[in-house]
Symmetry: C2
Subunit: 206 residues, 2 copies
DNA sequence: TAGATTGTTAATCGATTAACAATC
DNA sequence: TAGATTGTTAATCGATTAACAATC
């Protein structure tokens, strides 16, 4: 069970730590330290130690952290001991790229279905998936018990599709549509909008 | 010129304000308030007023903000009065989706070229763009004076490609590779890793 | 052991918010 | 005018960091 007093900003750093640890593990490294992790990630060592200490004592004084052990602890904290099924809504370029992206499986997620409302797309295949009719979305998601969705529809559809996903029992939505959506407090929403990142950087461009 | 004392966290919110204002403008709305914007974005009204006041006085007491005026001020602050040319590195699924994404143009950016190191891809077209050899990347970017790049290569190539981009004069990199990259302080880097967002949400899933 | 690094407290730093005078 | 909303100060809140005892 998650401790409800952990700040969300700390939760946001855990996957970053995990990603670094998994890279270390893949390269055969067995031990690391808050200093090394901090160097690698641009995060201060005490910050890392403090974050981790909110969940337990994972290190050894004088030695540091055992890479595999810490990684598995973080996976457990983040509920990544299981593979979460994902539904993709929207089979345009973004939905297409997400459906084919190979990087989810190793990191606790697995695309299971993809929906669109375009009759020309429905029935066509993307890799192993057949694009399904969005009219059947709620039913299919409920049947499969899917809790995680990625939203790759035009901005105008984002809110109605969100409402349908919430009704179907989805609790986590990664929204690629360039618009704020509203959902009940028990439904987490994260946003990806590349233009937002670019605009943030262009402030610093002369 | 940007005021160097503005916190980066404030800069990060300006594009969010701008996006909301542009939607209002498109729907014909002429005036808004910090309260309405805050409601829409989940940001407190005083926060919005304080952020904006760091750059000037853009509102009218009793009335609020003129949507078009505030939007144009934000565009100017963010250096979005011009269109920034972008180079994409990596012509896989992600690079492909980015090259075809229609959402950049209205928001101050324009894809100009795309590179890959795969001989089977070089010379093929994505929309209007011909995939170019990454061996010619530095030269082409320098010639065109491109300052902004999007990185959509495998993690193992992210750092060497970054080094090449920096040498070629790129000052802003949006990195889709799931790995931290290092660049000089005058080169801004932003990250997009969907798995990171998913993992952050799965903490809250039971 | 000596050196290194954790976990944690206290201090600092920075960001957010409450409150309100100014004024449209 | 009366009502509404800004811009801004002061207070609060929360996050980061410095420092160090504990200990491997």
């Amino acid at each position: 069970m998650g401790n409800p007093t952990i700040p969300d900003i700390v939760i946001g750093r855990l996957p970053i730590y995990l990603r670094a640890l998994q890279r270390m593990d893949q390269s055969g490294q067995q031990v690391t330290s808050s200093h090394e992790l901090g160097e690698m990630l641009g995060i201060s060592p005490p910050q890392i130690r403090k974050d981790l200490s909110l969940f337990g004592e994972f290190g050894k004084q004088g030695t540091g952290y055992h890479v595999q052990f810490l990684a598995s602890q973080l996976q457990s904290i983040l509920h990544l001991n299981q593979v979460w099924d994902i539904a993709i809504v929207g089979a345009g370029d973004v939905g297409h790229a997400l459906a084919r992206y190979q990087g989810f499986r190793d990191r606790g997620f697995q695309v299971k279905m993809i929906f669109d409302n375009d009759q020309n797309k429905i029935g066509r295949k993307i890799g192993e998936f057949t694009i399904q009719d969005i009219a059947e979305m709620a039913e299919k998601i409920q049947e499969a018990g899917i809790r995680v969705a990625m939203l790759a529809v035009p901005a105008a559809f984002a809110q109605p599709v969100t409402d349908a996903l919430v009704k179907a029992g989805v609790k986590a939505i990664l929204n690629y549509a360039p618009i704020q959506i509203s959902a009940p407090p028990d439904v987490k929403v994260q946003y990806i909008d590349p233009a937002l990142h670019l605009q943030r950087m262009s402030y610093y461009l002369k």
